[in-house]
């Protein structure tokens, strides 16, 4: 057998195997239905929109940032994040939070906000409908 294939094959097989294992260990699924978010014990990435009318709250002593999110079905979720309010949060149109649902709130370890790059186009759509 060719040494080249033994070495190369060994490395590829070992690392792909290791990757597959790590993938299952660190895999985080996207979830846009908050009912599922509330029933699973796994870490998920919940996607939804910030409920502006409920404002957000900052506890500067405990360094907690909390707000409400809503999914497409209208289910609301309270999100608590340890850390500062992310840049761009106020103008965000959709929010992706990574974390777990615990004791009635979603404890986020990461918040990613998506902003419309062109506000007017957004407005355009609103007025047409």
């Amino acid at each position: 057998m060719n040494n080249k294939y033994i070495f190369g094959g060994f490395i590829i097989v070992v690392f792909l195997g290791m990757m597959a294992y790590l993938f299952t260990q660190t895999n985080v699924a996207y979830e846009n239905d908050f009912k599922n978010v509330m029933t699973t014990d796994n870490t998920v990435k919940a996607t939804g929109a910030w409920v502006k009318s409920k404002n957000y709250h900052i506890d500067s002593e405990k360094n907690l940032f909390s707000f409400y999110m809503v999914d497409n079905h209208g289910t609301e979720l309270k999100v608590v994040y340890k850390g500062a309010i992310p840049n761009n949060f106020e103008s965000s149109t959709s929010v992706v939070v990574t974390g777990k649902f615990q004791n009635g709130v979603f404890v986020a370890s990461d918040i990613l906000t998506k902003c419309p790059s062109k506000y007017e186009e957004q407005f355009d759509e609103d007025t047409k409908s």
Binding site: N2, I12, I85, E120, T127
Partner: protein
């Protein structure tokens, strides 16, 4: 628009050039000259179009949609020029421009090397053609006018003296969501303006501007360098394809190697400049976050590095017989460009929309399909050609390598790099299938690979080509092994590296470092042009040590700094001395006196609210010393006097948000928000550009008495003024801070007329000005930058050497 005409002509010239190169390849006479004329005319047209775009940006030609969307008049000239590549259209234009210029050098290079030119240039022109289709007016041209599709433009960006003219009525729209007024700019309005002798550039006087995150020095450098790397990655593909169609595999490696080296060097430099940007300016805390956009340019780089090593083996061997790893080399050269295209697809198609910090928004179905077509064509072309020749390749190039040979060590290193690339690629592509991985995935999967790379890096240089005597190998490695063990013990003892894998990584990295130092020292007395590889590997080892130090032993702590009080954190004494305004009052710099022992320095992180996106922006500041960086990222600021309980300090969400029917208590009063009240005939007033009034009807019960008050918001010519309402007998003031008709909510601030705002909970506890920061110590992060720099120098020396060799 002339720009679009230029780009369309350039596309035709590119197709023509490609066809003529094909005919030349098919042995037609007289077509080579035409092909060159085609390529040169295309180059001139693309350069002219780029100059036109630059001119439009510099002269604020806002009737062009791209100029309006990404630039504004208040930008400095340097930043204004960098808006060239701030958006999708412009960055495709930049990529096209740089590819075309790389092609010009390639044409010159190949024309001196036998029958290479037609074969290489016809594939290269195909890549150029695809890029030119991308920037054509139907897809992503930066030259399209703003009005061809009706666009709503905020009145603040328009010339107010024209707005008040009678013909303007009927074009005004108001967005209840943001409370802003817009003018619908479409073909009808342009016709009316024209009839009145007004040009669109007189009408639109300001653009949307550049995202504040991009407004810094690195924006001017990082994207162009990365795109030069992307453009140069096209070349190895073209060489590989040219070899496959001729079915001759000796020459191409020699000719392609300097290009592969330069592409890899520039791509790597571009990636690390992005890392420095993220670390030093954007305040993301580190230089690498495994973000999809970062990853997707790292993957082709890893493949290019793998390709360099196996190509070197082929080149070395074929001088004395038949080359090794020919199939691997062809596949890797093809993969490098295909992965650049895949990277473009991932970040530009909007497919990663939810998972990346800085991927572009969805560009539309047509562009999506075209990106798929671009990627698909080159994948099929490259792999199809290899498959076509596979039988021949398999028969001709098949050998056994010795276990103790440099060939096999280099091959093993390349396979390790490929394994790393596959792992990163799969992790990055996971969002396509609704999955994602944590950052841990990348760190843990790549650490053992990096350990292997450390071993092979050192070992491959100690091994001889073809076969090595076991005894001499052991004898030769005495010095490096001993030095590596000694330095690892020192690093573990003094550097607090405790993780077992990191200790192993330190050992193999130190081994690679000492082997390279030893050999470089010997060579230094001889032929200096041979030093490139050792310098680059030495740089890599430094880089790895930097990664171990910052990754393994960084410390971070959040600290609250009351003004004037000294707080100790991470062994440093921090004193917040107050803030000052910078950049004409647009930004706030927070001065912190940092002391350690007898050394001290003022570190000034910056925070400001950007008008662009109405968000709080934060910029870190660093006290950089050789052995460590003391890194301060601002988190929030509390002025302690006003109602700034939120920590971000600038009137954000500090007041109470209410919807109809809500009530709350403040300063002993119970306040209920009953309903909105619109000013008289507001829609008519709006059409005429008059004032709009939106009031909130509040019921206030205080000391047993009930009052009705109406604070209101007035909008006149896009300017918003908030009129407070007072109950003087109770010393109460009610002021709206924002109104959102879409959600039916208001933000209300209640205060005493003569006194401070109502913020009982916070005001009592924290009367002092307080700054909250994240302080970190990043040990030896300078090794990361230094290692990168040394690697680049090594690359450059190697590229020169291989260019010289390719001429023989």
């Amino acid at each position: 628009m002339i720009g679009n005409i230029f780009l369309t002509l350039a596309l035709l010239a590119s197709v023509f050039s490609m066809a003529m190169y094909y005919f030349t390849y098919k042995n037609y006479n007289n077509t080579l000259k035409l092909a060159r004329i085609g390529y040169h005319s295309m180059t001139i047209l693309v350069i002219a179009a780029s100059l036109l775009l630059m001119h439009a940006l510099l002269t604020h030609n806002y009737e062009i949609k791209y100029v309006f969307n990404y630039s504004s008049s208040d930008l400095s000239t340097g930043l204004l020029m960098s808006t060239f590549w701030a958006g999708q259209e412009g960055s495709f234009m930049l990529w096209t421009l740089l590819t075309v210029i790389v092609g010009l050098i390639l044409l010159e290079y190949t024309s001196r090397r036998g029958d290479l030119e037609p074969r290489v240039m016809m594939v290269f022109s195909l890549a150029v053609t695809f890029l030119l289709v991308m920037v054509n007016p139907l897809l992503k041209s930066p030259f399209n006018f703003i009005w061809t599709e009706p666009t709503f433009i905020e009145v603040a960006k328009l010339n107010s003296s024209i707005l008040s003219q009678s013909f303007m009525s009927g074009f005004f729209f108001s967005d209840p969501g943001s409370g802003k007024d817009f003018v619908k700019v479409g073909p009808e309005l342009v016709a009316i303006l024209k009839a009145n002798g007004i040009s669109l550039n007189q009408f639109i006087i300001e653009g949307k501007g550049l995202n504040p995150l991009l407004q810094n020095f690195w924006m001017q450098i990082h994207p162009p360098i990365l795109f030069i790397g992307f453009a140069m990655a096209t070349v190895p593909f073209a060489f590989a394809f040219a070899a496959l169609i001729k079915n001759e595999y000796n020459e191409w490696v020699k000719q392609s190697l300097p290009w592969m080296l330069s592409a890899s060097m520039i791509l790597g430099l571009g990636i690390m400049l992005g890392g420095y940007w993220a670390y030093g300016v954007l305040g993301w805390g580190g230089y690498w976050g495994w973000d999809p956009v970062e990853n997707s340019s790292l993957v082709p780089w890893l493949i290019s590095v793998a390709a360099i090593h196996t190509m070197l083996v082929q080149k070395k061997n074929q001088n004395k017989g038949i080359g090794r790893f020919v199939k691997t080399n062809l596949l890797l050269a093809i993969m490098t460009y295909v992965l650049v295209l895949y990277s473009t697809f991932l970040t530009r198609s909007g497919i990663l929309g939810d998972s990346s910090v800085h991927s572009f928004v969805s560009p539309g179905a047509l562009v999506y399909l075209f990106l798929v077509l671009f990627l698909g064509s080159f994948t099929l072309l490259g792999f199809g050609a290899v498959a076509y020749r596979w039988k021949y390749l398999n028969q001709k190039f098949n050998y056994e390598e010795n276990v103790f040979s440099r060939e096999l060590a280099l091959f093993t290193g390349s396979i390790a790099l490929i394994a790393s690339a596959i792992i990163i690629l799969i992790g990055t592509s996971a969002p396509i299938f609704g999955q994602s991985v944590e950052i841990k995935f990348y760190n843990e999967a790549n650490l053992p690979i990096a350990i292997i790379i450390g071993i092979v890096n050192g070992l491959s240089l100690l091994l001889k080509w073809k076969h090595t005597n076991g005894k001499s190998l052991i004898k030769n490695s005495y010095f490096a092994l001993g030095a590596a063990l000694a330095s690892t013990v020192l690093i573990v003892l003094f550097g607090n590296v405790t993780n077992f894998m990191l200790i192993v990584f330190t050992l193999t990295t130190a081994f690679a470092l000492w082997v390279n130092v030893e050999i470089a020292y010997k060579i230094f007395k001889g032929k200096k042009s041979f030093l490139g590889a050792y310098i680059a590997h030495f740089g890599l080892a430094l880089f790895f040590l930097g990664v171990i130090a910052t990754g393994g032993t960084s410390e971070t702590k959040q600290v609250n700094l009351a003004k004037g009080e000294t707080v100790s954190a991470l062994g440093y004494d921090l004193t917040f001395n107050g803030y000052r305004t910078i950049d004409n009052g647009k930004k706030y710099a927070f001065d912190i006196l940092v002391k350690k022992g007898n050394n001290e320095s003022i570190i000034s992180p910056v925070m400001y609210v950007a008008e662009f996106n109405n968000s709080l922006m934060r910029e870190p500041d660093i006290w950089s010393k050789f052995t460590k960086d003391f890194y301060i990222a601002p988190v929030g600021y509390n002025s302690g006097e006003e109602s700034h309980s939120e920590g971000d300090g600038h009137n954000h969400g500090t007041s109470t948000r209410m919807v109809k029917g809500d009530s709350f208590e403040a300063l002993g009063a119970k306040i209920t928000f009953n309903t909105f009240e619109l000013g008289d005939g507001s829609s008519e007033a709006m059409m005429n550009g008059g004032a709009i009034k939106v009031g909130a009807v509040l019921n206030v019960v205080v000391n047993g008495k009930s009052y009705d008050v109406k604070p209101y918001l007035e909008i006149l010519n896009g300017e918003r003024t908030y009129q407070p309402a007072l109950i003087e007998s109770e010393n109460l003031k009610f002021e709206l801070t924002s109104v959102e008709a879409s959600s039916g909510s208001i933000n209300l601030q209640v205060s005493n007329i003569n006194g401070t705002a109502d913020e009982p909970a916070v005001a009592e506890k924290e009367m002092k000005e307080t700054l909250t920061i994240d302080a970190s110590i990043k040990p030896f992060i300078n090794l990361v930058w230094l290692g990168t720099l040394v690697m680049v120098i090594g690359y450059i020396i190697s590229a020169f050497r291989r260019t010289k060799e390719s001429q023989s």
